[in-house]
Symmetry: C2
Subunit: 403 residues, 2 copies
C-alpha cells in the first residue's frame, strides 16, 4: 500500500519510448490508448490469463508473439473496452489495429502485442483507434512523462496509476527496470494481474526472460486476490531492449532477478491497495501446512469468503468466520490444531477462543494495512496472500459499472 513515488522519479530504461492519446473509446477527454515502443526491438516474455474465455487481443497476441520468436517492437493497449466475446469481428479489429500500428512503426505486425481492458461483449470502436494511431505514434517519447501517460491511459476503475522502478548493478553494469500495471477488479491468483508490463534495458534471450518472469509472477501477481474473479484479458509482459549492454548472466542475473521480483511485488501491492472500494489491505499468512498447495488453498478460501471480507470492512475481529472458511476449504484440517493471530495478538488457540482485548484488535484492524496469521499445526509449509476487505462501495462500483 506504499504510495507510488511521483511520476518523474521513475527512470525510463534506455531503448524505450512511451505515448498515449485520448481516442474516445468509452469516455471523452481521457487518455485511453497507449503505446510502448522499443525502436531497436526488445526480447520479450509474455504470460496470458488462465481463463478459458480469452479476449481477442490475447488470441491475436499469442499468435503474433509466436511468429515474432520472442522479439517485440511495440505494445498497444486500450482501456474502456475488453474486446472480449466479440467474435470474428473482434479478432479482425484487433489484427487490423496491429497491422496499422506496424505500418506506422515500419515493423512486422506480429511484432506488435495488443492488450485491451474494459467491458466484455461490446464491439471495439476500431475506427476511433485507427484514426488515433498516427497521433499516438507521434506522441512517443523516452521521457518519464511519456511513461506516466502510458500508465494513466491503461487505467479502468483504478483511482491512480501504478508504476514501480528498480535498478540493479552499478556503474557500467547498471540496469534499469520500469513496471506499469492496472487493477482493480477481476483480481485473483491464476495470473492475477489485469495488465502489467515490465521494461528493462538488460540484454537477454526470450527463453530466459520467460523463466524469470514466471518465477517473479508466482511470488507476486499470483499471491494477490481482490474479488476472486479471474479476467479474460490478463496479460503480463517483460520486454528487454538490451540497450544497457549488460548481459543477463552471473552476478548481473542474480541482481536482476531480485530487482524484477521487487518491481512485480510493488505493482501487485499497488493493485491490491487500489482494489475497488477497499479500506484495508490484509496480508494473510498461512503457516504449518502440510504443503504449500494446501496453504495457498486455505488462503484463497479465506480471501474469497464474503463473511470474512465484510467483517474486515467493519474492522470486526470475528475470527470465527476465518475458522469456518478454513473448515470448508477442502483440506484435511484438524480444527483442534488451528491458531489465529491478528498482528501480535492471538485470538484463537487450538481451535478455541482465547482471551484477547477486542478494542486493541479492532484498532489493529482499523489500520490501512495489517497482517493475519493462521497456523494449521499440520506441517512445515507456508504461503501468503495479499488481499482486502469487501465494502458497500465495491458493490456500488460494480452494480453500476456500465451506467
Amino acid at each position: 500500500m506504499q504510495t507510488p513515488a511521483s511520476p518523474t522519479s521513475f527512470a525510463v530504461p534506455s531503448g524505450f519510448r512511451f505515448g498515449a492519446v485520448a481516442a474516445g473509446i468509452k469516455y471523452r477527454d481521457r487518455l485511453d490508448l497507449a503505446m510502448a515502443e522499443a525502436p531497436a526491438g526488445a526480447a520479450a516474455a509474455v504470460l496470458f490469463t488462465t481463463n478459458r474465455v480469452k479476449a481477442a487481443p490475447l488470441l491475436v497476441g499469442a499468435r503474433n508473439f509466436k511468429k515474432s520468436r520472442g522479439t517485440l517492437r511495440a505494445l498497444i493497449v486500450n482501456s474502456g473496452n475488453a474486446n472480449c466475446a466479440t467474435g470474428k469481428r473482434g479478432m479482425r479489429d484487433c489484427a487490423d489495429t496491429c497491422a496499422r500500428a506496424a505500418k506506422l512503426l515500419a515493423c512486422g505486425e506480429h511484432q506488435v502485442l495488443p492488450s485491451s481492458t474494459g467491458v466484455i461483449g461490446v464491439a471495439l470502436p476500431a475506427g476511433r483507434i485507427m484514426a488515433a494511431l498516427p497521433q499516438l505514434v507521434a506522441s512517443l517519447s523516452s521521457s518519464s512523462a511519456g511513461a506516466h501517460d502510458f500508465a494513466r491511459a491503461i487505467m479502468t476503475t483504478d483511482t491512480r496509476p501504478k508504476m514501480a522502478g528498480a535498478c540493479s548493478g552499478r556503474g557500467a553494469n547498471s540496469v534499469t527496470l520500469l513496471g506499469v500495471a492496472k487493477g482493480a477488479g477481476m483480481i485473483h491468483p491464476q495470473m492475477a494481474t489485469m495488465l502489467a508490463y515490465i521494461f528493462t534495458d538488460i540484454a537477454a534471450r526470450p527463453e530466459r526472460l520467460n523463466t524469470l518472469l514466471a518465477e517473479a509472477c508466482s511470488e507476486s501477481f499470483n499471491c494477490i486476490s481482490v474479488d476472486g474473479d479471474t479476467s479474460t484479458n490478463d496479460t503480463l509482459a517483460l520486454l528487454a531492449s538490451g540497450a544497457s549492454g549488460v548481459l543477463l548472466k552471473g552476478p548481473a542475473e542474480r541482481e536482476f532477478r531480485r530487482a524484477l521480483k521487487d518491481v512485480c511485488s510493488s505493482l501487485a501491492q499497488q493493485i491490491v491497495g487500489d482494489g475497488e472500494g477497499i479500506q484495508h489491505v490484509v496480508r494473510l499468512r498461512i503457516e504449518r501446512s502440510r504443503s504449500e498447495r494446501e496453504a495457498r488453498r486455505v488462503a484463497a478460501c479465506i480471501a474469497t469468503s464474503l463473511l470474512v471480507k465484510t467483517a474486515w470492512a467493519g474492522a470486526d475481529p470475528n475470527w470465527g468466520r476465518i475458522l469456518a472458511a478454513i473448515g470448508r476449504s477442502g483440506i484435511e484440517a484438524d480444527a483442534a490444531k488451528i491458531d489465529i493471530w491478528f498482528g501480535a495478538q492471538q485470538v484463537c488457540r487450538r481451535g478455541e477462543a482465547c482471551s484477547f482485548d477486542e478494542k486493541t484488535a479492532h484498532r489493529y484492524m482499523s489500520q490501512p494495512v495489517y497482517e493475519i496469521r493462521v497456523s494449521l499445526g499440520a506441517g512445515r509449509a507456508s504461503a501468503w496472500l495479499l488481499t482486502n476487505d469487501l465494502t458497500a462501495e465495491y458493490v456500488r462500483i460494480n452494480a453500476d459499472y456500465r451506467s
Copy 2:
C-alpha cells in the same frame, strides 16, 4: 420466493409438540430457545454440515444420535450463539443442556438432538439456557401457534420465519408434513441450509428416512447458494412420529417422497428469498454440459462471482461477467459454444454478443425472481441453482454483525 402462508395455515403432524421461550441468550425479549418434542418418540434421520470445523452441538448431537439408534424424543435449538470453537466447555455446556432437558422430559439424554446458531467463538450462556428449560418444556403444545413460535425462535438475521406444509395420501392414509428452517447467511451447497427440521406423522424406519432425506436434500438445500460460505452448524433433520399409522411403503411412500421434496424445496426457496440484503432471486439453469457435476461446478462459479452478483444487484445485463465466470470455473469450456439467455431473450450466442434489447433485459432483471439459462453446447447433462444478488445492504449487515 413465494410468501409463506400465515402460521395458522400449517397443520401440525400428530405426535409432536412445539414450544419456545426468550432465554436472553443474546437479545432481550425475543424468542431464542426452541423445543420440538415427540412424546411417544420419533424415528429420525439427520444430516450435518460438511464443514471440517463443527460446532459442539453437532459433535454432541452426532454422538447422541448414534446411541439413540435413530429414535429421538426432542430437538432443542438456540439462536444468538453457535457454540462453535468453544472447546471442552462448549461440549460440556451442550451435553449438560441435553441431560437437563432429558430429565424434564423423562427420557434418555441421547434422545435429545441439540442445535445452535449465531456467532462463532463466544461461550454459550449455558446458565440462562438451563434456567429457561422448565419454562420451555411447560410451553410445549401441539398447536400451530407453538410451531410458529419454534420457527421464530430459531431465526438469526432472517427477516421472517420459514415454514412449509404438505399432505400426502387421503382419508385414513393421509400423512402430514411440516418443515421449519432458518437462513440467511453461510448458505452454499454441501448441505446448504443452516438449520431445517421436517416433522411428519408417517411410520418409518430411520434407515429409510435417511435415504429419502438425502435424496430430497440433494434436489433442494444442495441447490441453493446465498454467499458461498458453508456453516459450521448446518443441521437437517427429519422426524417421523408414526402417529398417523400410515406405513412408509408402496403408494404411500411414493406420495410421501414427493411431499418431502416439496417441503424441502419450499424451505430452500424461502432461505434464498430471505438471503441477507437481497433484492433478486435468480434461478440459474446450466444446460448441455458434459456431466451434472460440471454443470453444478459452473453454476457454483457463476453464483459466487462477486462481479456477477453485483451486476444482478444493479439489474445490469452484463452477461460478459457470466462468460468470464464460466471461463475460470475449471471445466473444459469452449467459449465459442456458449449461449446465454436472460429469460426468453438470448444475450450471447456462440460466445459472442447477439443483439438484444437492453431495456427489456434491464426490466426483466428488475423483477424479484427471474431465470438465467446457460448452454455449454458440450453434452446432455444439466443442473440448476437458486441464488441471489449481492447488495450494499449485505455488506452493511455483515460488516456490523456483532455490534
